[in-house]
Amino acid sequence: MPRSIRASGWGHSMAETYGRELRRAGADANSPVRRLVLLLRRYPLGAAGAFILTVFVLAAIFADAITWLDPLRTNAPEKLMVPGGKHWFGSDVMGRDIYSRIVFGARISLAVSLGATTLGSVLGVAVGLASGYLGGTFDLCVQRVMDVLQALPLLVLALVTSAALGPSLTNTVIAIAIPMIPASARVIRSNTLALREAAFIEAAQVQGMSEWRIAIRHILPNTVAPLIVLATAQLGSAILTEASLSFLGLGIPEPAPSWGRMLSESAAEYMRTAPWLVIFPGAAISLMVFGTNLLGDALRDILDPRQRG
């Protein structure tokens, strides 16, 4: 008797069914636009996240076109202007325009967080692939190094690294990327270990493909989904870490308009008289991270229904 046949819809959640259907639809030659519309409709929160991020990315790219005041130019007579008029979000203690600084700050925030996440993922993938594929003593040593990196809170490690390298944009990227390596390395390593045993890898071995070729041609594409999910989550924490580092005075140096630094400079001093100094930069950070998190949740549901939460 065919015991495997079950009444449809019974035994697994509807979202799982949907995720699988959508992925199956992805294999079809459906129009990509239609698929995108379908996805956006199915995941409204994810669509909202994608929208928020898109707005920030466009603002960062076209910063020059959508602002009318130099974010770096100080203007003493116009200091601490109330929001309104030509200073949409007001001006700071040196008379710089907050709106321009927020828009150009998106550039810095995105550059650092995307840079750090990319660097961390690339290094993590390399380490994870090598570790999972080579195994043995190499793997053991790498695992211990990852333990070490994970035993320090992200911000503490980034603080010390940043202090050691000196404040600059590149160094901030490196300082945030290093603590991110273990997470992606672990994901890639465990997937590599699982996939090494898979039938199609054995087939490739039989065909005489070299180990590295197998690793890059077969194993990497099969670990892309969890990696994307992880990288989106890391993007959010990279934005927050950059903001924290800059807030503490150890990230992006002056006079660059970093959101975190805008909050530390004089905001605390003037927050009773000029609350806009506090409100706008913080809202920008929160909104961008919120968009990233919304998108990340939706991506996880779509790409990896097992981890659904």
């Binding site: 959640s13 929160l45 211990r144 190094v145 333990d147 070490v148 994970q150 035993a151 320090l152 809170p153 992200l154 911000l155 503490v156 603080l159 010390v160 690294t161 202090a163 050691a164 390298l165 000196g166 959010g236 927050l240 870490t241 903001a243 924290s244 807030f247 503490l248 005075g249 150890l250 975190g260 909050l263 905001a267 605390a268 927050m271 009773r272 609350p275 506090v278 409100i279 930069p281 913080g282 950070i285 929160s286 909104l287 991270v289 919120f290 990233t292 998190n293 919304l294 949740d297 981890q307 659904r308 939460g309």
Partner: protein, 315 residues
């Protein structure tokens, strides 16, 4: 079991050893001569004086030698002297421990008390309005930087009372006491509570699908008993692991929150010491942080084993 414990303790020591090397090397990467930097602000200094100071601080030795001196001191409880205050490091660190400890414990307590019940509610009412609301709220909690949340809270406080809270060891009124510990703790714990809520929710959803939950309902148990006695007890196992891991994030939150609220704890001291290049303090504080994180992870593993009979008694 004792073999496992030994192995775990060995790995912990290995990890701490690795951290000590990384932190030591990182701090010696800093460009420029340490003594020059230290005396930058002092203006003209006699070169002979510089050499004397360098020798006093042990900076004339080679880097491996300096490391051995530090390790030797660490083993014997001698953590060296602060470059800035010239007091023994231990005297600088010890009085700050209760300040940060109180804040951290309150934050974790707040996070658990808020995160676990809401996570259960969200899971039990999956896909309801309440669930969506809580999920968006928790995502927001993960998105707001705690230093901004802190600044906003301070702003609201000063708008209401016309003054800012100043940290003291003996707060004058109950309101001050609440404000000085509870408000910063909530600021730090908000992020953790959001994370704990999300994990409790997904763990509960997983558990609520299990056959034994159906068995409990088939016995005639009510929703409260099914959800809390049967489901939550199982769902808490993975959540406890996360609460342990979350302490590492919590320390990040402490750093910025102590800075915002001007709380003289360890976390703010770490930032100050990094800014002042007070490396004896920095390296020992980082080691302490690592020790705390590693110990908590170890404790969580033991707790997990104690709570899960399948591990405690061997599956």
């Amino acid at each position: 079991m004792s073999g496992y414990l030994l192995r775990r303790v060995g790995l912990m020591l290995l990890t701490l050893f690795g951290i000590s090397i990384i932190i030591f090397v990182l701090l010696r990467l800093v460009p420029g001569n340490m003594v020059d930097i230290l005396f930058d602000s002092a203006g003209m200094v006699d070169p002979a004086e510089k050499t004397r100071i360098a020798a006093e601080l042990g900076l004339d030795k080679s880097i491996p030698e300096q490391y051995l001196v530090w390790m030797n001191g660490l083993v014997h409880g001698d953590l060296g002297y602060s470059y800035v205050s010239e007091k023994p490091t231990i005297e600088e660190i010890l009085p700050r421990i209760p300040v940060t400890g109180r804040l951290a414990l309150s934050a974790i307590g707040f996070a658990v008390l808020l995160g676990v019940p809401f996570g259960v509610i969200s899971a039990v009412r999956q896909n309801s309005g309440v669930d969506y609301g809580l999920r968006v709220l928790s995502l927001a909690g993960l998105s707001i930087p705690s230093f901004w949340l802190g600044l906003m809270v301070l702003m609201a406080f000063s708008a209401l009372t016309g003054r800012l809270p100043v940290y003291t060891e003996a707060p004058a009124t109950v309101l001050d006491a609440v404000l000085l510990v509870a408000v910063p703790a909530m600021t730090v714990g908000f992020r953790s509570s959001a994370l704990i809520m999300r994990l409790t929710r997904s763990a509960m959803l997983e558990v609520l699908r299990q056959d034994y939950v159906r068995t409990a309902r088939a016995k005639g148990a009510g929703a409260g008993r099914v959800n809390f006695h049967h489901a939550l007890r199982n769902a808490l196992l993975p959540v406890i692991t996360v609460i342990g891991l979350e302490t590492a994030f919590l320390i990040g939150g402490l750093i910025v929150t102590e800075t915002v609220f001007n709380i003289p704890g360890l976390a703010r001291f770490l930032v100050e010491s990094i800014r002042n290049r007070d490396y004896p303090i920095v390296q020992n504080l980082v080691m302490l942080t690592a020790f705390i994180v590693v110990s908590i992870n170890f404790a969580v593993d033991l707790l997990y084993a104690a709570l899960d009979p399948r591990i405690r008694l061997g599956a």
